[in-house]
Amino acid sequence: MNQADVTKLVSKLRIKVPDQHRRLRSPKGPEGRLDKLRKTVTGLIKFERIELNHHRADEARQYAERLISEAILHGDCHKPTMEIADYWLLEKELLHKLFKVLVPRFENSNTAFTKMYKAPKASSGRNIDKAILELRGNPYPLLTNKHSNNRYLLQNVLLDAAKYEYRQAKYAEMADKIGKNEEISQPKSDDVAKSKPINEV
């Protein structure tokens, strides 16, 4: 049993954090693992959308979220935060981007700062899971294409026509019903008022 470390206050991450860290093999060992993740995080902050292997993407995602949350929490006047950002971002222009562009972008958000998608795998070669890691609010077009509401796609055109035909048949049926009711009870005009209104299909 270990007591939680209370010297530092951290903000809760809004992504799923696995129980243990992934080891990411490298000739230098743990230092090499952090070097790899540094390069990935620098690339993510620089390009805002990168494609890479799933495991490295997941680890880098956690570190990127932590970096951005520390920057939001403490700002750039806080010396230890500046040192951490200096270590993680290999290109020093990105320090300015982190504190002056990304922090105002994500300051008031309630969601995670990054998104990860599954990318198509290479058809031949090794069976490695690929992922795309991007920052929210990036300037590129969306990766997910929600065309379900596009009325000009063939499936929607056919479905709309089918729905229209069904509705017309229903109206005709109801009109026949009303006509029959009138024949049965001729003098009563209340039936027309009592008949149910036509519902939209």
């Binding site: 049993m1 270990n2 007591q3 939680a4 470390d5 209370v6 530092k8 206050l9 951290v10 903000s11 809760k12 991450l13 954090v17 129980d19 860290h21 743990p30 230092e31 952090l34 680890e59 956690q62 570190y63 932590r66 970096l67 520390e70 939001i72 929490l73 403490h74 700002g75 006047c77 951490i84 270590y87 993680w88 105002p104 300051e107 008031n108």
Partner: protein, 305 residues
């Protein structure tokens, strides 16, 4: 028992001085004071720190660290933690478990069926606080008859009759295991030591003492640990030790953000936990202070015969 206590008159005189200072400011230079306040507000707005954790309940994470659960997600269970906290508060309502830190000197009396008078008292310096919930423990160290003795107690052990803080202070390190290899003078405390009272409202003092170690052999490689409370490690090192220490250093660990995250409970979860227990703990502290004041102010009974 000699009791050192600042009289209330001193506090009142300090209060008078502060009031006089304020009156002078208000009468002499009112505009400058207002301008200074406005400038400070503007600075705070510009820095835009909306996400700072300003909640005062979070201060209790230093005073009662055992209320926070173990951060390992394998052993997290919200229901069990809630029940544990309720049990801890129940025990605290029975006996006063005071605020103490690693480096404070405590006196613990436990009920012992085999001892004379059925109680056993031990005085020592706290070298470690570990564990969470009802399994929180601390180790007291003392040197008795030139023999170093360490006793481990559980904070919420029902056989403990009292825990008294004789000297409340903090040290430069989190764990004081190096006292085992230090000169005995740094760990000897008399068993009949008197409690040293601090004036109310003072922050916990930090003892910057730097301990001298005995020559090698040591129990651990103290040179490889980042210890601030030891003065003479370098004297006892050979060239080989220095070289191996440089090779073994891991300077990248302090930048490992996820390692830090996995070792601690995030502030949002901590706020939830502390807001559950804060009120009760605060009430207990206030009532204990009142009781201690009452005890000190009782008039001595007239001795008959």
């Amino acid at each position: 028992m000699s009791v050192i206590r600042k009289s209330s008159l001193d506090i009142l005189s300090v209060g008078k001085w502060i009031l006089r200072r304020d009156c002078r400011l208000l009468s002499a230079v009112p505009e400058k004071v207002e301008v200074a306040e406005k400038a400070q507000e503007e600075i705070e707005k510009l820095s835009g720190r909306k996400r700072r954790f300003n909640n005062p309940v979070l201060e209790y994470r230093h005073v009662y660290p055992e209320f926070l659960p173990d951060p390992n997600p394998k052993w997290r269970n919200s229901l069990r933690e809630k029940m544990e906290r309720a049990d801890m508060l129940k025990r605290r309502s029975q006996i006063d478990i005071p605020e103490f830190y690693v480096g404070s000197i405590l006196a613990v009396t436990i009920s012992d069926p085999h001892a004379q008078g059925k109680t056993n008292r031990f005085v020592g310096i706290c070298i470690e606080r570990k564990g969470c919930g009802l399994r929180a423990e601390f180790i007291l160290r003392n040197v008795v008859d030139h023999q170093g003795v360490e006793v481990k107690y559980e904070l919420y052990d029902p056989t403990i009759q009292s825990i008294q803080v004789l000297r409340l202070e903090k040290r430069l390190d989190d764990k004081l295991y190096y006292l085992r290899d230090a000169l005995p003078e740094y760990c000897t405390f008399p068993q009949d030591m008197d409690p040293e009272m601090l004036p109310e409202g003072t922050p916990v003092p930090l003892n910057p003492v730097q301990v001298k170690l005995k020559p090698k052999p040591w129990l651990e490689r103290w040179e490889r640990q980042d210890l601030k409370g030891v003065s003479n490690i370098e004297e006892h090192l050979k060239e080989k030790d220095r070289v191996r220490r440089e090779l073994r250093k891991t300077p990248w660990e302090k930048y490992d953000l996820m390692k830090q995250y996995r070792k601690t409970i995030p502030a949002e979860d901590q706020t939830e936990i502390w807001s559950e227990v804060y009120n009760q703990l605060q009430q207990m502290r206030v009532s204990r202070k009142k009781l201690s004041r009452k005890r000190l102010f009782t008039t001595p009974k007239p001795q008959l015969g």
